[in-house]
């Protein structure tokens, strides 16, 4: 018979699950768990400076490792502060287990100090959530939470644990086995056969891949399928890196800020093979006018994604890696000279314009200069806004999990804590965090965490002292009525970083910005690289919100 407290049991179960780093912030209702954590020889705690930071640090670890990672927060405000990071994980299907302290069972519902119904609040933003009512339940709930987070379409799971459940003593015979993912659903072989038939019969097919390919670890199969069947391949924001950007079949990113040629090629396609993507509005524009002449093959592990936005002619429910393995031998080798030469001519007629690429003080030039100074082994995170789109357009992504960005939820403040998490999970890699001055200020407190951990994170701050994408939209679509998007004050970010103990480099004043940049990126430890950006630099091309993808302006 084994006997221990609920808090000790949680720790042992996390250790047995292979968890080695947990991000979090302690508080009254989770102190028993922190007390047990202080005795753990296997799990290291990273103290965040805001619970949202802790949630994103866990996400950063999970986005790099591909397995569920853990964050802790206390009850009430600690728990509610986690919600944004959980919702972000939900929309991008990131496996994560959030553990929150709760007031004692007998005090739930009494408006006790720091009480919040985090169980109720996280129902719509988690894959599943638990309110644990006895220490014995933990034996099932903890492994279940991990199993759910990593099975099928991954996602966040929240476990709310009252303080007295953490202190309750529980006796049991044996530890449950660590969780493993459920088996993927068996795919319909007839549908796979039919998909192969459509691919073999198509004249102008396009492969459209999403983040599901990265979650499934199927990037290699995608490249094999594209090469075998001669399929031009476009990637969603979440899928960048699945096919190296310099691959001859790559069409880069589609959608709102995709290149003109990419959206034009999609418009002409007669077969769209959608793999692990979900027809998001920023990717496809006006749904009814997306690929109007194409039949659709849709492969996804989540059955509710099939036929959700667009009806598929062939819908295959299954793990995309497994389905692609079955599909590959049924697909004919095709050179598709006519279609690919047409694709090539659209590519050269309507390329992505990246003005001033040679100037490291311009948006595209800066992204390019950073990419030139580091290898493909580096991890790139971004915040949300213009800088995010410039990086998505111009950075040469060549491998899965090289690129971590907030796609579905679009959370400003994502970049820095996710970079910290990425560096914790992959200490040998350089982590670049591209950010804007608006986003950077939303989780700037995590500079303290970064300095304390001394991680190899380089923050590249594109500073236009405004909410640039808001400014851009007001300028383009709201009659230039610019409101609440230009900052009056201009903080000195290099001084702020210095205050946290982080070195900075100012490209504005550097005599040789390219050399200063390379030197900063290749020195060990954290660093802030500051570059002023002209507020009138806009992201082009752009599909007006609500417009069809072929109605792009600029670029």
């Amino acid at each position: 018979m084994i006997q221990m407290t609920g808090a000790e049991l949680i720790l042992r179960l996390l250790e047995r699950q292979g968890i080695r780093t947990v991000a979090g912030i302690p508080g009254g209702a989770i102190l028993p768990l922190y007390d047990a954590l202080s005795n753990s020889k296997l799990i290291r705690h990273v103290l965040a400076r805001h619970e949202q930071g802790a949630g994103f640090i866990a996400q950063g670890m999970a986005r790099v490792s591909g397995r569920p990672e853990v964050c802790f927060a206390s009850s009430g405000p600690g728990a509610t502060n986690l919600v944004t990071a959980i919702a972000d994980a939900h929309l991008d299907s990131i496996p994560m287990v959030a553990i929150t302290g709760q007031v004692p069972l007998s005090m739930i519902g009494t408006d006790a100090f720091q009480e919040a119904d985090i169980y109720g609040m996280t129902v719509p933003v988690t894959k599943h959530n638990f309110l644990v009512r006895s220490a014995a339940e933990l034996l099932e709930v903890i492994p279940d939470a991990f199993r759910l987070a990593m099975s099928g379409r991954p996602g966040p799971v929240l476990i709310d644990i009252p303080k007295d459940v953490q202190t309750q003593v529980v006796s049991f015979d044996a530890f449950p086995l660590p969780a493993i993912p459920d088996a993927a659903p068996a795919s319909d072989p007839d549908a796979i056969e039919e998909a192969a038939r459509l691919i073999n019969a198509a004249e102008r097919p396009v492969l459209y891949v999403g983040g599901g390919v990265i979650h499934s670890g199927a990037a290699q199969q995608i490249v094999m399928l594209a090469e075998r069947a001669g399929l031009p391949t476009t990637m969603t924001l979440m899928a960048l890196g699945v096919m190296p950007i310099d691959h001859p079949l790559s069409l880069g990113m589609l959608g709102m800020h995709g290149a003109r040629y990419t959206n034009f090629i999609l418009e002409e396609s007669d077969l769209l093979i959608c793999v692990g993507a979900r027809f998001d509005d920023r990717a496809i524009g006006k749904a009814a006018q997306f690929c109007p002449r194409a039949k659709i093959v849709h492969i996804d592990i989540d059955p509710s994604e099939l036929h959700k936005i667009r009806n598929a002619h062939v819908a295959i429910n299954g793990d995309v890696g497994v389905v692609l393995d079955a599909l590959l031998p049924r697909v004919n080798i095709r050179l598709r000279k006519r279609w690919l030469s047409h694709v090539g001519s659209l590519k050269s007629r309507f390329p992505l314009h990246m003005p001033r690429l040679e100037d490291p003080r311009s948006p595209y030039g800066l992204v390019q200069a950073v990419a030139c100074a580091v290898s493909d082994e580096a991890v790139v995170t971004t915040d949300v806004g213009q800088h995010q789109m410039w990086v998505a357009q111009a950075y040469p992504f060549r491998r899965p999990r090289q690129w971590l960005t907030s796609g579905g939820f679009g959370t400003m403040g994502f970049g820095l804590p996710v970079a910290v998490g990425a560096a914790l999970a992959a200490p040998a890699r350089t982590v670049i965090c591209f950010t804007g001055d608006g986003s950077f200020k939303m989780n700037i407190q995590e500079l303290a965490t970064l300095a304390e951990e001394g991680l190899n994170v380089k923050i590249v701050l594109m500073n236009n002292n405004s909410l640039g994408l808001v400014y851009q939209q007001q300028s383009l679509f709201y009659g230039k009525r610019v409101f609440a998007s230009k900052y009056q004050g201009a903080p000195d970010f290099l001084k702020i970083a210095g205050g946290f103990g982080i070195d900075g480099v100012d490209l504005d004043t550097a005599r040789n910005p390219r050399a200063a940049l390379a030197q900063a990126l290749n020195a060990p430890g954290p660093c802030l690289i500051h570059a002023s950006i002209d507020r009138e630099e806009f992201v082009y091309p752009m599909v007006p919100p609500g417009g069809a993808n072929t109605e792009m302006i600029g670029g």
Binding site: Y119, G120, P124, H128, L131, D302, P303, S304, H307, K308
Partner: protein, 104 residues
């Protein structure tokens, strides 16, 4: 919970459907299900829930309109971890008809 949705979509004129759900029986299951319908502004006309002979399980009957979103709605309900099965019946199913005498 459903009443919180300000303006439910105009649904009269659609056929009704009865959904029979088998679910785990613990606090929170109803919340997961009702929340799913509410946040999609999908009105639930009738709801009935009782534990089964195995007290770890309950059966929930839902009366809903058959609009074009129902298919997606059912797929979302099936994704809930505590929902073990979903069966669809036509409006002729008598579970809610028999209940009517308690209301009128």
């Amino acid at each position: 919970m459903i009443e919180q949705v300000a303006e439910p979509l105009q649904q009269s004129g659609f056929a009704k459907v009865v959904l029979e759900l088998e679910v785990n029986n613990h606090p929170g299951v109803m919340s997961h299900i009702c929340n799913l319908f509410a946040r999609r502004a999908f009105n639930v006309e009738g709801i009935l829930c009782m534990p089964l002979s195995d007290p770890r399980r309950s059966r929930i009957w839902l009366l809903v309109f058959e609009d074009q979103r129902l298919e997606q709605m059912v797929l979302q309900v099936e994704k809930l971890v505590d929902v073990l099965s979903v069966r669809r019946h036509g409006a002729e199913h008598e579970v809610f008809e028999r209940l009517e005498k308690f209301f009128y």
